[in-house]
Symmetry: none
DNA sequence: CTGCGAAGGTTGCAGCAGCATTACGGAGCT
DNA sequence: AGCTCCGTAATGCTGCTGCAACCTTCGCAG
């Protein structure tokens, strides 16, 4: 892990660098705001520690500059200016955390880790089918990122088929996905939905077709 | 934005709920650790506020449980136990931030926003939609940098839709974003908000429209 | 190859669930 | 007191959806 330290007090900076170093953290140090942008361009730091009072200005002013330049590196403000309103100011400017001096190195480390902790992304991949993208969790369907709106029952049919793309879905399984126990159907309502859905998919140029397997069920295929 | 508050002091909890509510944050409250896991399963909170001393145990013990159950929701510890070493302990346990009581609501808000701004968070700070810019953390809406002020509930609806621009938002999702589990609605209150919001957006020339998908939900589109 | 029965496809139609809009009054804030 | 916000309910409307009638396709056996 490598971080950038902006701090004007040489002694503190050296002590901090040494302490962090023992924890396996490499620290680059500068006391000039002007250097900071260039340094972040040269190296993608894991975090930035920022003093507010620096020889060439208020440290907080760096934050919007960095953000505008596209950096989303976590920033922790380290400062003696530790009044509640000043803390609010710091966080509102875009700092990820704010730590008043003096502080325990242990606390800084803990906050660093808290800031860096990146939980495993549970990003739902979404199902690609033909030219469609289907988000089965939120029930939306897009074609070339244009939303395609389908009536509820047709939507449920489509999602169910798409989840098992290229595999047969038994008719009772489909019915169960679209109707609950209370809603009984005594007709070919499901067939009707399939038919209407096919038409809509065709009109929209979805790039998929729904095949029937006689006596068994249905199957969604890409063209 | 909707958060879960674990706090045993009823008065503080109510006051905090009310204060956050005014800032457009919907709060669910419980004082039992045992409820927390179940509640997080029912609703994906944007953040969790956690007291350490709770009737059924130390609040911190909840954190590893939540993390093991796959929740990556940011957790802010709110507690009177505010010694440096206790703070370290809290952060090491996996809290994203640690705030000693008493605190200013302003600071809590700032820290909440800071935590939600982190890259791991799903919250997008600024959303462009039509001629609007929406700051989902501060709940500000501007049109050509002129502020547009909307009633709280309509604002929540708009932000929720804007966060998923061009994608359907299921009706229950929308309800959950606007009402907590104590506020039940037995009428078409949500529909009424949508209707009034539409009118306001039209009058303001926001450049977006809200579409309904029958039986499924709503969808915000740019014109 | 041809005929037959069953499964599936298509489509019009009527009923109704779901939505849009608006007025009204209570509650809360300044 | 005056204002806005917000939940409720009444009203009207749209179009989804189940149904049924009719048509097409498929599989199979003679």
């Amino acid at each position: 892990m490598r971080i950038l330290l902006l701090e004007d007090e040489k002694e503190l900076a050296n002590a901090l660098s040494a302490a962090l170093n023992k924890h396996g953290i490499v620290t680059d140090h500068t006391m000039h705001l002007a250097d900071a942008i260039e340094l972040t361009r040269q190296h993608p730091y894991d975090a930035i520690l920022l003093d507010r009072r620096l020889p060439d200005g208020e440290g907080l002013t760096l934050i919007p500059k960095l953000r505008r330049s596209g950096t989303d590196t976590p920033i922790i403000v380290l400062t003696a200016r530790n009044e509640p309103l000043e803390r609010v100011e710091g966080l509102e400017t875009g700092a990820d955390d704010y730590l008043g001096k003096p502080f325990l190195v242990e606390e800084l480390l803990a906050r660093l880790r808290a800031v860096l902790r990146r939980p495993s992304s549970l990003a739902e991949p979404g199902i690609a089918a033909g030219r469609m993208m289907i988000d089965s969790l939120h029930l939306n369907v897009t074609i070339d990122s244009m939303p395609l709106d389908l009536p509820r029952r047709e939507l449920l049919v489509l999602v169910t088929l798409a989840k098992r793309k290229d595999k047969t879905v038994l008719r009772p399984t489909l019915e169960a996905a679209v109707y609950n126990y209370e809603e009984e159907i005594q007709s070919n309502a499901l067939d009707a939905h399939i038919s209407r859905l096919r038409k809509r998919l065709l009109d929209a140029g979805a790039g998929v077709t729904i095949h029937n397997i006689r006596g068994v069920g249905y199957l969604l295929k890409e063209e």
